[in-house]
Amino acid sequence: MSKIEIVNGYKEYIKNKEKIVVLNNINTKFEEGKTYAIMGNSGSGKTTLLNILGTLDVLTSGKMLIDSEEILRLKENEKAYIRMKKIGFIFQEFYLNQYMTVQENIMQPMYINKEYDKTAKKQRTNELIEMMGLSQRKKHYPKELSGGEQQRVAIARALANKPDIILADEPTGNLDKNNEQKIFEILNSLSKNGKCVIIVSHSNVVKKYADIILNLEEGKLK
């Protein structure tokens, strides 16, 4: 069964009475246990597609299903629940809370997860910190970390509530070659553990780690 499915996905922006068609009749499925790389020229709509997949944006028309559930029909709160439970986001700009420590940043999504009690939260945080190799950096603030370290904190935060879907928008855009490889390795290993990983990237390095490479061109996925 596919994790995410888009049926006849159509997205347009209207700016100054001018219509920009970004996604034009897209039909695609994403499955668990696989790493997808979405590539394409700048402005081709990769970010838009990823945002739609992550329920941060909505299709103009068409259907989007997560675990066979029609997303467009859901209320805001139900979408919030899906984001908490099923989706982890990673951005090029990290979007870490600058005034919170590594630990606090990672813990933040867990406060709304009823499955975690106090000790479980701590345990999960430590587990993620360990996993990302940030043990020495627990109490540090984001500005005290390197770009690669910050991105690993962001990945740990995305994984906090054990989502099945990981969406990464240019996760290595601000990183050097070394860190880039490290991040892709981590993301790839996640899909090996049964998650559905979707990476948007300009970098050709991603091809090495992706199971399926998709090209977004003129609103179509190829």
Partner: protein, 439 residues
């Protein structure tokens, strides 16, 4: 999400992000201090005017002359004028003679006191005992402190020592015998002490209150002779003084307009030849003006405060829009984001209120200390003299603050801040998340 988690996250946001919250904190502190001071000034002036307004001397209109022939007519006219608490004709008015207290328990003699005729309506507020009623005879209300020796020169440089006072409260319920001196006669009379008034409130340690009917009897017994016929009118409130005075003039009762100046009250002010009551009397309008300025100041600061709250909040919300977007991405419901940020702002308000209050108290202490320093300086230059005179007056006005108003203002601040945060957040949160994080 339970309450303690929400509180924890709010506190974390409020305390950890000092830089962002300083935008709200600093202007809030400044403006709250301003408001606290203007409320203090306003409230102090108000209560001071009310307090000194209770003093019978402040409410007395004198200078009504009459002849025995038109006495009845004048009394009838006066009965039709509102806001009059007491009419005192010359037989009922203060005996010219000075009363000397004798046989005080602690051996002190020569407590020179001045008796003021009173009735049930004009009787001073008592801190112990009771007020004078209309059928009392030979009773007195005395101050809690009676100055024991009136001949000593009392100035600020020569302050009154504690043991120079006779404790009035010890005399409550007892009879004290007083020597009353007339022009050519002396009387010894026993009076029952029925009430004690707060001498600090009335700024008086030498005035005693006796029913005017008793004073009339004493005057008759002394055979006091009056060269002219005059009467005094006591108005119910200082505020009505001018109105009644105008009416009296209109009716032709009052020919000369003059406020009675009580020579007995020049003590404690310590300014050479400056009579306290005349000073305050002259300044009562100034006090009202200051009060009005303070009122205007507090209202306008409050308007500025609201403006600051709204402006900084808009600013702050847009600065932290990405953070709100991240919370949404993590799956926080709008409801929780609202509660957390509203709590955060309330905490910032509480912190600024506490800091402002501490600073306000500190500034007050420093201000009082500075005033004391200037007053106590022995050599005061001529130019400083006027300032010193004013400072004496300021010192006399107790610095009071109406805590219920402070509480109301605090609640309004919190209410505005919450409503404001809610609506700005709402505007941000209703956008697509992909747009929020780009703000």
């Amino acid at each position: 999400m339970n309450f303690s988690t929400i509180l924890k996250l709010s506190i974390q946001r409020a305390i950890k992000n000092r830089k962002r919250n300083a935008i709200i904190l600093i202007p809030l502190i400044i403006i709250i201090i301003l408001i606290l001071f203007s409320i203090t000034i306003q409230y102090s002036m108000q209560s001071y005017v009310i307090d000194i307004g209770f003093n019978i001397n402040m409410r007395t209109i004198s200078g009504i002359n009459y002849t025995p022939a038109d006495y009845k007519e004048i009394i009838e006219k006066l009965l039709f004028i509102n806001n009059i608490d007491m009419i005192v004709d010359q037989y009922e008015s203060r005996i010219v003679a000075i009363v000397t207290c004798e046989k005080f328990q602690n051996g002190k003699t020569d407590g020179k006191v001045y008796e003021t005729p009173t009735n049930a309506k004009t009787s001073p507020e008592v801190i112990k005992g009771r007020k004078i009623s209309d059928d009392d005879q030979y009773v007195i209300i005395i101050p809690d402190k009676i100055y024991a020796d009136s001949n000593t020169n009392r100035t600020f440089e020569n302050p009154i020592l504690e043991d120079e006072y006779i404790n009035g409260e010890e005399l409550l319920g007892k009879n004290i015998r007083m020597k009353i001196e007339g022009d050519n006669k002396e009387l010894y009379k026993d009076f029952k002490v029925i009430g004690i008034y707060d001498s600090s409130k009335y700024d008086d340690t030498q005035t005693i209150y006796i029913p005017k009917t008793t004073i009339k009897l004493l005057n008759e017994e002394l055979g006091a002779s009056f060269s002219e016929y005059y009467m005094n009118v006591v108005v119910d409130k200082v505020e009505n003084l001018n109105e009644v005075r105008n009416k009296l003039t209109e009716e032709g009762i009052l020919k000369k307009t003059k406020i009675q100046i009580d020579a007995s009250s020049d003590k404690e002010v310590g300014i050479e030849e400056t009579n306290f009551i005349s000073t305050t009397n002259l300044n009562i309008e100034t006090l009202q003006i200051i009060k009005n300025i303070a009122f205007f100041l507090s209202v306008s600061s409050f308007v500025i405060l609201i403006f600051i709250l709204v402006a900084t909040n808009v600013n702050k919300t847009y600065i932290s829009a990405t953070e709100l977007g991240v919370l949404k991405i993590e799956g926080y419901k709008d409801k929780y984001i609202q509660i957390i940020t509203i709590f955060e702002n309330i905490i910032v308000c509480i912190i600024s209120f506490i800091i402002a209050f501490i600073l306000y108290k500190l500034l007050q202490v420093i201000g009082n200390f500075l005033i004391d320093c200037i007053i106590q300086k022995e050599t005061v230059s001529l130019t400083l003299y006027k300032i010193r005179e004013q400072l004496f007056l300021i010192k006399k006005i107790p610095q009071k603050i109406n805590y219920s108003i402070v509480l109301i203002i605090f609640s309004i601040i919190i209410l505005i801040e919450s409503i404001n945060t809610f609506f700005i957040n709402k505007r941000v949160l209703k956008k697509n998340i992909s747009d929020i994080i780009k703000i």
